[in-house]
Structures are given as C-alpha cells and as structure tokens.
Symmetry: C2
Subunit: 310 residues, 2 copies
C-alpha cells in the first residue's frame, strides 16, 4: 500500500496483512512462571544449573503452548520480565521461543516496556530489532516485529525505536492507557487543558506515527497499549489515534470483556490485537483435561469473539 | 538508625553509610559501546562468537574502568541497555561487571528503568534483586543495591520493587524529572491543580518511601531520578521529597553543572548521588594520555566538587 517497492513494508502494513492472512486478531501472551509450567515441560539435562534447567523447561513449555495455539493467533507477546529473571539463560530461552514463534508464522511482540534517553533507547532498540555491528562482527538482535515502549521520558525516548524498526518493518507499541489499577495514579490525572494525561500521550503517539509514514491511509508503525479494562476510554482514544495499531491487554484474568472493544477495531484489520496470557495458557486449570487442548479451545473462542468486532 | 537489629538495614541507611565511609557521592556510569572501548580491552578467545567476544571485551573494559575510578566513587550505575544489546552473553557480562564492582566495595545501581503490571514488576524485581525459587533450585538475581524504575503505570508498578528490595536492603530510584529534552513532552505538562506532572510523581515517590520505613528520620529506600539539567526544579523537588535519595544524571556531556545541585544534597550524606558516564570514561578523548589516568582524574575532580555541596 504505502511502501516503496524497494523497501520492506512498514509495521502497520505488515500487521494488517498478517491479520488478514491468519484471520485472527489474537496475540497469545507468554509470561512463563517456572513453578507453573505445563506438566512434562521438564527436559533438564542432569548436572545443568538451576538457571539452565529452568530456562530449558520454560522454552519447552512455551514451544508446546505455541504449537497448540498458533493456528488461532497472529502474534505472540513475550513478557520479557518472566525470561529475564532467569538471567542470561532466560534471555537465550526468550530468543529460542521467538524463533519457534516465527517458524509457526507468528509476529513476535517483545513486551519489554523500555524507555530511556536517546543513546540508551537506541541500544534497547538494537537489542529488540536488528542488533549491532561490533569489531568482532555483527551481533544479532531479537528480530522482534514490535516492542512495547514506556513514554514517561518523552518523544526522544520513543523515536529511536521507530527509527530502528524501519529497516526490518518493526514497530513500537507505546504505553498510553494501561490495564492495571495503578493507571489511575498518573495516566488518569487531568492536565491544565482539561485533558487526562493518557490523552496527551495519545497525541504524541499519533504524531510520531504520522511522521513515520508518507501515506495518509492505513495503519502507522507506532502503536498504543490500551487496557481492555477501561473500555469507556476506547472511543476517545480511537478518535485521538485514528491510524494507530492498538494492543489490548487486560481481557480475562484482569476483567476486560472482548465485547466492549469494538471502537478499537473500527479502522480495520490490524487496528487492534487482543492479547491474553493466563486465560489461554492456564485454561486447563479451570476446564481440566489436556493443557494443550484447553489452550487451543480458549484461543479459538477468543479469536471467534474478536472476529465479530471487525 | 531506623532498622530492626535482626534485619538488614534498608537502602536509605545503607546508602548514607556508604557515602560517609567512602567520602564520595559519585556513581560512575557504565554504558559500554563495543566500538568505543578502551584500547587493549580485546581479550577474545579465537573462535568465539561475535556476541561472546564483544561481551568479554565489554567486561574487560568495564573492569579496567572500575579499577581506575572506584576509589573516587561510592557506586556504579550499569546502563542495562548497553549490555542487553549483546544478548545473553551481554547479560552475563553485566553480572560479571556487577560482581567486580562489589569486590571493589561499590554499590551497584542497575539502570534498567523497568515498569510493568504487578506480576511482571515482581519478575523484574526478582531479576534485579534476590532471584527466584524454581523446581530446579534457586536462580540468583542480579543482587543489585538499587534499580531504576519508570512510573507511568503507577504505584502498583513500583511497589513490587520496594517489597522485593527489602530483604537484602535494596532500593529503587523512580524516574521523576529526567535529564533529556523529551522530559518537556509529558513531565513538564501542567495538571489541573497547576502542578507539573513531575510534581505528581514526586508526591507518589515520597509516599512510597515514607510507607516503606517506620522511622521518621533519615533517608527512605525509595529514591528519585532527577536530571541535573533542570537545576531550577531541584528546590521544589527536595521540598516534595525531603527524605528521598536523589540520583542525578546529566552532569557533563548533557550540560548539567555540579555547582547548581546544592538543594539535592541538603538532607545529608546519601541524599544525592551524581552519576557521570562519558565525562569520566571518555575523559582521555579530551585530555589525551592514558584512559585510566584520565578517568581517575575526572572522577576525583567530580568527587571534590560534589563534596563542597554537602
């Protein structure tokens, strides 16, 4: 659509194509807790360190989850914290899981919520996307399709992710109105203009997105994280960010209802992804039976519900 | 002072003691760029991957910097982004550098600017502090003395760091008014009450700190990142957060002047740490000569200037 024929399509276009192709707007969330893995994930080699054994089990668990649910999904959202707490082996596990997700045709969203001054934001963006040239040769990045970014430090802490994503068609989802109760503490405070703070952030996200693409139709590569727990905010958020891809956490365990999210989906395929973690991966704890079967059913059900929204 | 005799002193007390003991309020910042290491850092084993070779060189470089400047410093601030872009080997390098800093008697501040919903914030806090129990045994955390935290998601995204730090006397520095130009985009916006946004954040930080300790004197374990580039904000920030340890980036390369920071230091030892990275590690690029000698001189000079402030 908007992209130069010579170059990789930008994230907004890639996302829209992927959602159409897979007929799904679901991003399965993986936030593995080593004490809550699916039965049978333990593949430890005797003598491995606890960090290595736990990381290998996490990888095996995540691969099994992805094998079960990938057909119902368009993306995976990797909660970086869950992997990082296992140290260097955990980071290796995160990369292995991302590779497996790509093999299954999924987009990979690195949920890392990074944000720092420009030079450090560039380093985080190198880690998330294409890596870095060193005197010892190129070091690969995570090759993520998108990464979540925190906005408190302002435009110059977000822009490096937009710039670094461009060559490979990667995008950024900026926290705008999050799904947790603490969102009330700062995001919901009202500015002098009468606007809530999330609205100021939304304007910045829309501007960064418009600046990032030439075309005036379609989605931009700069997305927004918008909690499904505050559906009354969605219409206004969509108005402020008409071309912005939304990532919608908070469905299921956190209380959000898919039926309330129609405004997010209005611009068309890719305009919104629903992300669900515990309600898919832990579905067997409620339903009983095989974890993979229960996860597949939960993901398919979520996909079907979402598909009625646009 | 405030702590129960049975338990580890909290971060505010540990910080004050360390600043007194070392007669320094300087935190050297390490944000290694593999293309800008000190000459001679290359220790690559033949056949090592680029990520391993670059990470080993980064470790060697950082150890040499620390050996040179530790006597003038009380802490090291590790910019996590710089290590993470080297993947799992980079995370291992970060741990090795932290170990070396501890051997030299420095506090370790993990500059990671994490922030996420409660369950994920707990995972990041496990990574930064004491690690996690797994079915394969305990996996160690980074054993940091403090970690930087982003506030956009509110209290419930910060509290897990305060809670997880308690057993080992670890603290958190919350971004309040940062040193970059982008700080104007959101932090400097005015709320309906007429207060700038950084002031709302400062109130939350002060409350979390007061809640974290019983005693009504001394520093709290919940700190604030306050850019040295906005010295006109310092007096008000100190008023809003009278017992909060400040971490002051932005001196040197970013334009902040130590002489303008007296208000931050007023409450006494530990009340403020000045962090400087490029102006210490890269001092030889201006002065010429041996990188270690130039770094030592720059750190000693910064220590002397800061010591006149309180």
């Amino acid at each position: 659509m908007a992209s130069d024929a010579q170059s990789v399509p930008h994230y907004g276009d890639r996302l829209a194509s992927a959602v159409r192709r897979r007929a799904s707007a679901i991003a399965v969330g993986l936030d593995p807790d080593p004490t809550q893995l699916w039965p049978g994930a333990d593949t430890a080699t005797p003598g491995a360190s606890a960090a290595d054994a736990a990381s290998d089990a996490v990888t095996a668990h995540c691969r099994r989850v992805l094998d079960a649910v990938a057909p119902a999904c368009v993306a995976v959202k990797l909660q970086s914290a869950s992997f990082e707490r296992l140290g260097a082996p955990g980071v290796r596990s995160r990369e292995q899981v991302a590779d497996h997700a790509r093999d299954l045709g999924l987009l990979v969203i690195l949920d890392a919520k990074r944000g720092d001054i420009d030079v450090s934001a560039r380093a985080y963006a190198q880690a998330a996307f294409d890596g870095i040239e060193t005197p010892w040769g190129p070091v690969a990045g995570s090759a993520s399709d998108a990464v979540t970014v925190a906005p408190y430090m302002g435009r110059d802490s977000i822009q490096p992710f937009v710039d670094a994503g461009r060559p490979s068609g990667g995008g950024a989802y900026v926290l705008v109105r999050t799904s947790n109760p603490g969102a009330a503490d700062l995001q919901e405070r009202t500015g002098a203009s009468g606007e809530p703070f999330w609205s100021l952030t939304a304007r910045i996200v829309a501007e960064l997105g418009d600046d990032a693409v030439d075309a005036h139709d379609g989605l931009t590569p700069v997305g927004a994280v918008v909690g499904a727990t505050a559906p009354d905010r969605l219409e206004r958020l969509r108005e402020l960010m008409p071309r912005t891809p939304f990532l919608l956490p908070g469905v299921g365990a956190q209380g959000g209802r898919v039926e309330d999210l129609a405004a997010a989906f209005a611009p068309g395929p890719g305009a919104a992804l629903i992300t669900a973690s515990r309600s898919i991966v832990g579905a067997f704890r409620e339903s009983g039976g095989d974890p993979a079967d229960a996860a597949r059913r939960a993901a398919e059900q979520l996909r079907a519900t979402a598909s009625r929204l646009g």
